[in-house]
């Protein structure tokens, strides 16, 4: 079976290429409404070879356990949201399976609940995080200027290249799972628990991941449990692949955010108080709720210095499908709110937006983030290059003149340019796994071939190529002589989600260290040489800003005089991310991310409270010819450490866009100054 499975065309990692003999297709029976009690489920008479599976058929634990939350594999007795899986229908013909699902009637005594963020009770609280330093109330009372502002971010679909799904089959006594997941060990754990088998009896093969934006952290485990359950019960290879509509309606989206701030400034425009209340709609289930609120609380002050800060962050449950991750697990949302607020504060203090930010940027020793800073956030270099690239100052002045001197103030000025900064830090991301247990081994054999064994590997081939090139360059061998293997025995530690930047960056650093070790011993000791490096992170707490990657974005736009829609003229990004291992790949990935981040600002509107089949048609992802010119530039600061890049564009481009839009529309509805 194993040999065959590798011949099913899965070399490209596409789940839809999985076509073994005897395959059964699996489709999901969903609750039509919710939350509420399931009154009845009526399925049509199914032919032989077809099977209707419910929660009663789960041999092990009926729910996946996460810190602070449980996610039912199939709902039993009660559903928590419309669309929740209540059963599975499996059979050899996909069309008949789909037809059987259509004919299955689920009756729910639904009692929709409030899903809003403006007002909620403690009963809806999934997770909460707080952070404070100094006396915020007093500082606000004494401030020369106080700005109150609130901002909202909506739900965003990840739009994966292939709708999510999973396949399962038996290879003798081992259950093999094909899953496009960021976290294979979590998939294995969930399946072992659901089927009441040992984890060693489950093998997880990762499929093509694509740009996942942290959306494939836990949901693939649910789908893998569904496929595994069918394979377990029917003893045949099983594949479940969501339709594009199902993927759009039911897989987790970026959790909508309501960020409310009060910021106090002194006469010079320095921040003296920052009070933030951040609430995210996490949907009916929130496996990532704690991680998201922790990240929001840790990052809400960004790179700015303020002696008195306070944040209260809530993950609020609602009767919608689970919401959750987007690039950075909350960091991009926190950055959006803060960078919008920075523009509001600069307006209130009469300062230029850039001058306000540079005036307030933290200095060495600053403790706003909770720990004394060792390095000054590298905004200055980033901003200088950004100004040079984008001609921001001239454009901003010109557009301000247009705004102030327009003959008819009832019409928007129509021109805007905005900027925003962002950072990405390994220390900010939650450690889902045991990072301290990470170990990498490198072996240079007698023939000059290098083998690297790592617990997690990059999920895209180009990143793997960068590892190979890097290792080859350190040792001084041909990249073709470098082989990278996944060291993934059942007893290997769960290092957390693969393709999750803190674990991946740690492994990349260990690979570099192991190769350097071999290089130093290469001509002194006999081959083969083996070097093993284990992650021994210092116990001392450091600020997430130290060692972070930095980015600044400028977005320039005009408003169409006819329909008022923004037309983006250009996006400029300047980055300081330490040593860039592959400049071409890095530039391409930043261009891609900036285009997608911009798309989320333009046509990607999704209202979870009014979601339906028509929603996907109204959800407009920018196409190639919608994308404006995007300029990406990396600063060469001589820093030897490579930094993360994957979240930066998603953090700063939307805020820069919104700041430009504020200037172009001359509106800041949600802000007031006292």
């Amino acid at each position: 079976m194993k040999a065959r499975s590798r011949g099913f065309g899965l070399e490209d990692g596409r789940l839809s290429s999985f076509r073994p003999p005897d395959l059964v297709y699996v489709a999901t029976v969903r609750a039509p409404s919710g939350p509420g009690a399931i009154q009845s489920i009526h399925s049509p008479h199914l032919p032989r070879d077809y099977r209707f599976i419910t929660a009663e058929d789960i041999p092990g634990q009926a729910a996946m356990e996460f810190p602070g939350d449980k996610v039912p594999i199939l709902a039993k007795g009660r559903v928590d949201y419309p669309g929740q899986p209540v059963g599975l229908i499996a059979g050899p013909d996909r069309g008949r399976v789909d037809e059987a699902v259509r004919l299955t009637k689920v009756l729910v005594d639904a009692a929709p609940e409030d899903g809003g963020l403006d007002c909620f009770g403690s009963g809806r609280l999934k997770a909460r995080a707080q952070r404070s330093t100094g006396d915020v109330d007093r500082a606000l009372a004494e401030a020369a200027t106080v700005v109150k502002a609130s901002y909202r971010l909506g739900a965003v679909d990840h739009y994966y290249p292939e709708p999510q799904g999973a396949a399962a089959y038996y290879d003798y006594d081992r259950l093999v799972i094909l899953s496009s997941t960021q976290w294979p060990s979590q998939v294995r754990r969930a399946i072992a628990s659901a089927l009441a088998v040992d984890q060693s009896a489950v093998t997880v093969l990762s499929g093509f991941l694509g740009p996942h934006l942290d959306g494939k952290l836990w949901y693939p485990s649910l789908l893998a449990c569904h496929a595994a359950l069918v394979a377990f019960i029917l003893g045949k290879p099983a594949m479940l692949q969501l339709s594009r509509d199902e993927d759009f309606l039911y897989t987790p989206k970026r959790a909508p955010l309501l960020a409310s701030y009060r910021a106090g400034m002194d006469e010079d425009g320095r921040l003296c108080a920052l009070d933030a209340s951040l609430a995210v709609n996490i949907g009916a289930h929130g496996p990532l709720a704690a991680a998201i609120v922790d990240t929001l609380a840790a990052s809400f002050t960004g790179p700015y210095s303020c002696p008195a800060v306070r944040a209260d962050v809530w993950a609020v449950a609602s009767d919608r499908p689970p919401m959750g991750a987007w690039a950075g697990l909350g960091l991009s949302s926190a950055t959006y709110g803060l960078e919008r607020l920075a523009d509001a504060c600069s307006r209130a203090s009469g300062a230029d937006p850039l001058a306000f930010r540079l005036l307030n940027v933290s200095q060495k020793g600053d403790t706003t983030s909770g720990v004394a800073l060792k390095q000054v956030p590298r905004l200055k270099g980033v901003s200088e290059r950004l100004l040079e690239l984008s001609d921001y100052r001239r454009k901003r002045s010109a557009y301000e003149l247009i705004r102030k001197r327009r003959p008819d103030p009832s019409l928007p000025p129509g021109f805007g340019v905005g900027l925003a900064f962002a950072y990405q830090s390994n220390d900010l991301l939650p450690a889902f796994g045991n990072l301290k247990a990470l170990a990498v081994e490198a072996e240079l054999d007698k023939d000059g071939f290098l083998t690297i064994r790592a617990p997690i590997l990059p999920t895209d081939s180009s990143a793997l190529g960068v590892w190979r090139n890097e290792a080859a360059a350190i040792i001084g061998i041909d990249p073709k002589a470098v082989r990278v293997e996944r060291d993934a025995g059942a007893d290997s530690p769960d290092a957390g989600p693969a393709a999750f930047s803190n674990a991946m960056n740690t492994v990349a650093r260990l690979v570099g260290d192991a190769c350097s070790d071999i290089r130093d011993r290469r001509f002194r000791e006999a081959l083969p040489l083996v070097a093993r490096k284990v992650n021994r992170k210092s116990g001392r707490k450091s600020s997430p800003l130290d060692g972070a990657s930095w980015a600044g974005a400028v977005v320039e736009l005009t408003l169409d005089p006819l329909d008022g829609r923004p037309r983006v003229k250009g996006v400029w990004l300047s980055l300081d991310a330490g040593r860039v291992l592959s400049p071409v790949k890095a530039r391409l990935s930043l261009e891609r991310d900036a285009a997608r981040a911009l798309s989320t600002c333009l046509g990607e509107r999704f209202d979870p409270d009014h979601a339906g089949p028509a929603s996907i048609r109204a959800y407009r992802i920018s196409r190639l010819d919608d994308t404006p010119p995007i300029v990406v530039d990396f600063l060469d600061t001589g820093d030897a450490r490579p930094g993360g890049l994957g979240e930066l564009a998603f953090s700063c481009v939307p805020a820069a866009f919104a700041n430009a839009l504020s200037q172009a529309s001359d509106s800041a509805d949600s802000e007031e100054t006292a």
Binding site: P561, L562, D563, G564, R605, A614, R617, A618, R620, R623
Partner: protein, 280 residues
């Protein structure tokens, strides 16, 4: 749905004969709408299809000094590939906004006109152009102004058992043209609408103005348009305000939702304010 039979006539005459036998048959040219929205095909009866997509008589484009004559099965991509698509004015702009390039390789001009339950996006452009359509049925061939396809209450009224064969587009040189979605909801949302406007300017004078909205209902008010013909540009605030609010009132009277009507008012106002910004 159950497909009874698929007729593949070799000529328009054969197609009309098929239609005579089965007046409820679906004429299938590009079929993009029918394939993407299954509700367009009746599910409660046997369906007969007449495949007219490859009839040579419906695939031609002929240009004279006064007009361009386009076969109903000409794809939107072929229209846009004409040497001077600008001559098609608003239609070129509307066609370019339909789907994607690969969808436009299938979608036909006839398909955008012959939809039975709504006016598709190109219809607003064709209305502005005062296009003419050739209809065939067992009784013969007739040319009509496109507004013949607009029935009571300005709703679609494509004649039953008829076949659209050609579309005649008068050559008019437009100085300002705009075609845009009127609001957010895309098709198939019932309120999805398209706004089209074009103007001819001669020596600083608004020589001709056409404004139309297509959706569930067609909005076009020729008498209102005439009120601005001959006015010198720029139009006064009062002229613009009066025209755009009257246009919105016409839309409201035709039961276009208030939010779409008020947006129409804003669109018309912006177009008349600076028509030169919409030069082709």
């Amino acid at each position: 749905m159950t497909i009874d039979d698929v007729a593949r006539p070799a000529t328009v005459q054969e197609a009309v004969a098929s239609l005579k036998r089965r007046p409820d048959a679906i004429l299938w040219a590009g079929g993009t709408l029918l394939m993407s929205d299954p509700s367009c095909i009746p599910a409660d009866r046997l369906v007969s299809i007449v495949d007219i997509g490859r009839l040579p008589e419906l695939a031609g484009i002929h240009r004279t000094e006064r007009y361009v004559e386009v076969g109903a099965a000409v794809t939107l991509a072929s229209l846009l590939a004409l040497p001077k698509p600008a001559l098609l004015g608003p239609l070129a702009m509307a066609a370019a906004a339909v789907g994607t390039a690969s969808v436009r390789n299938l979608a036909t001009l006839g398909g955008t006109i012959a939809c039975r339950n709504r006016f598709m996006s190109c219809f607003a452009a064709l209305s502005c152009m005062d296009a003419a359509v050739e209809l065939r049925d067992p009784r013969g061939v007739r040319w009509h102004g496109i507004h013949k396809l607009v029935g009571p209450g300005n709703r679609p009224a494509f004649p039953e058992a008829s076949m659209l064969t050609r579309v005649r587009l008068p050559h008019l040189s437009w100085d300002a043209v705009v075609v845009r979605a009127l609001g957010d909801p895309p098709y198939p949302h019932p309120d999805a609408s398209t706004f089209a406007a074009c103007a001819r300017i001669e020596q600083g004078v608004l020589a001709d103005l056409r404004v139309a909205v297509s959706g569930r209902i067609l909005v076009r008010d020729r008498s209102l348009e005439m009120t601005l013909a001959g006015r010198r540009l720029p139009l006064s605030r009062r002229e613009i305000g009066s025209f755009s609010s009257d246009m919105a009132a016409s839309a409201l009277a035709l039961s276009i939702p208030p939010d779409i009507s008020s947006r129409l008012e804003a669109y018309v106002s912006a177009f008349l304010d600076h028509p030169e910004e919409y030069a082709l």
